[in-house]
């Protein structure tokens, strides 16, 4: 269950930035999660609903942008997503490809509502 501390980390960042922006409420949170992070989206959503209760982020929509693991062949420069069995280049067969995408693990941005705003969309 490591999604709980991860979700707490997300909430901490979100509330900090919402507070600094003088916002009354957070309506959306955009996350960028690479394939190397091992984070289960459904578990984060489950934790999110529980821990945001009573906070300005209650009801905020979580938007996941998943960045799949992508490798670059060092021989022929082909970019490819590994098939889970091998990291060898599908074009030329060479080993030793390098990770170019998939390490992302951040909160990209949040949507916040003004203190005097009417109730926004759920």
């Amino acid at each position: 269950m490591h999604e709980l501390p991860i979700t707490q980390g997300i909430l901490e960042l979100v509330l900090d930035h919402a507070d600094r922006a003088g916002a009354a409420r957070v309506s959306a949170v955009r996350l960028v999660i690479g394939g190397l992070s091992g984070v289960v989206e459904d578990s984060v959503r489950f934790c999110w609903d529980l821990i945001t209760e009573g906070t300005p982020a209650q009801g905020a929509v979580l938007d996941f942008r998943r960045v799949p693991l992508r490798l670059a062949c060092q021989e022929c420069q082909t970019l490819f997503a590994p098939d889970g069995v091998s990291f060898d280049c599908p074009a030329c067969g060479a080993g030793g490809a390098r990770v170019v995408e998939g390490r992302e693990f951040r909160v990209e941005s949040i949507d916040v509502e003004d203190p005097d705003a009417e109730e926004g969309p759920a």
Partner: protein, 222 residues
């Protein structure tokens, strides 16, 4: 009115900050810190016992044992000559910087040269949570299979050294070292690798010589 506020910060920021404080504390005491990661049964505690035996009289070693509920591992480390502290995560699947911070307060830091943190046995999340140690070391084993780098790329990409334990079993297994190494090389180019057997002692001296040198120089590799 809705306003978009850019954040662009790592989700683990809060943990990373406490890890930074832990590392400052270790640095002030001239302690080199290792975070030992592996699946359950890989031989983390056995590697610690072997390492302690070979470092006896050379370096003063503290051990923080992360475990779900028992203190068996801490007792083994203490019996092998280390100052050992147990952290029970109560079912939690990894150690974090706060837990290590509490454990550090229980150790006689002024009397230590090397700190070994044995993380909870798990290949999924422990590598995502920095502890403040200087080096992540993964203990892989031959019976687990040569496909583990492909199945757990996150773990394999975040370690600074790799110990491959149970190489004495290779004649009985289908473990393809070349396939294993190719996977590791993509995720973690040039990572230093030590094939060992904690049962026979094979290869352990090379690992201990390397880690001992690192602890004396107080710096991470590469």
């Amino acid at each position: 009115m809705t306003t978009r506020v850019p954040v662009v910060e790592k989700i683990t920021k809060a943990n990373d900050q406490i890890a930074g404080i832990n590392q400052d504390l270790l640095d002030r005491h001239g302690i080199f810190g290792l975070n030992l990661l592996a699946s359950p049964g890989a031989g983390k505690t056995s590697l610690i016992e072997r390492t302690l035996a070979l470092l006896k009289g050379q370096l003063r070693v503290g051990v923080i044992e992360g475990d779900l509920a028992t203190s068996i591992d801490a007792e083994r480390a203490a019996a092998a000559g280390a100052v050992a502290v147990q952290i029970n995560t109560g079912g939690g699947c990894h150690l974090d910087a706060v837990m290590v911070s509490s454990a550090l307060a229980e150790l006689p830091l002024a009397e230590l040269d090397l700190l070994i943190v044995e993380n909870v046995g798990n290949l999924i999340c422990p590598a995502s949570f920095a502890l403040g140690t200087h080096l992540n070391v993964l203990v892989a084993t031959t019976p687990e299979g040569d496909d583990k780098p492909y199945k757990y790329p996150s773990m394999y990409s975040r370690v600074g050294a790799l110990v491959v334990n149970k190489v004495d079993l290779l004649p009985h297994l289908d473990f393809d070292m070349d396939r294993f190494r190719r996977g590791v090389e993509t995720l973690n180019p040039g990572v230093v690798t030590f094939p060992v057997s904690c049962r026979t002692g094979q290869g352990v001296d090379a690992w201990v010589a390397w880690i001992g040198a690192m602890a004396r120089e107080k710096r991470p590799p590469r």
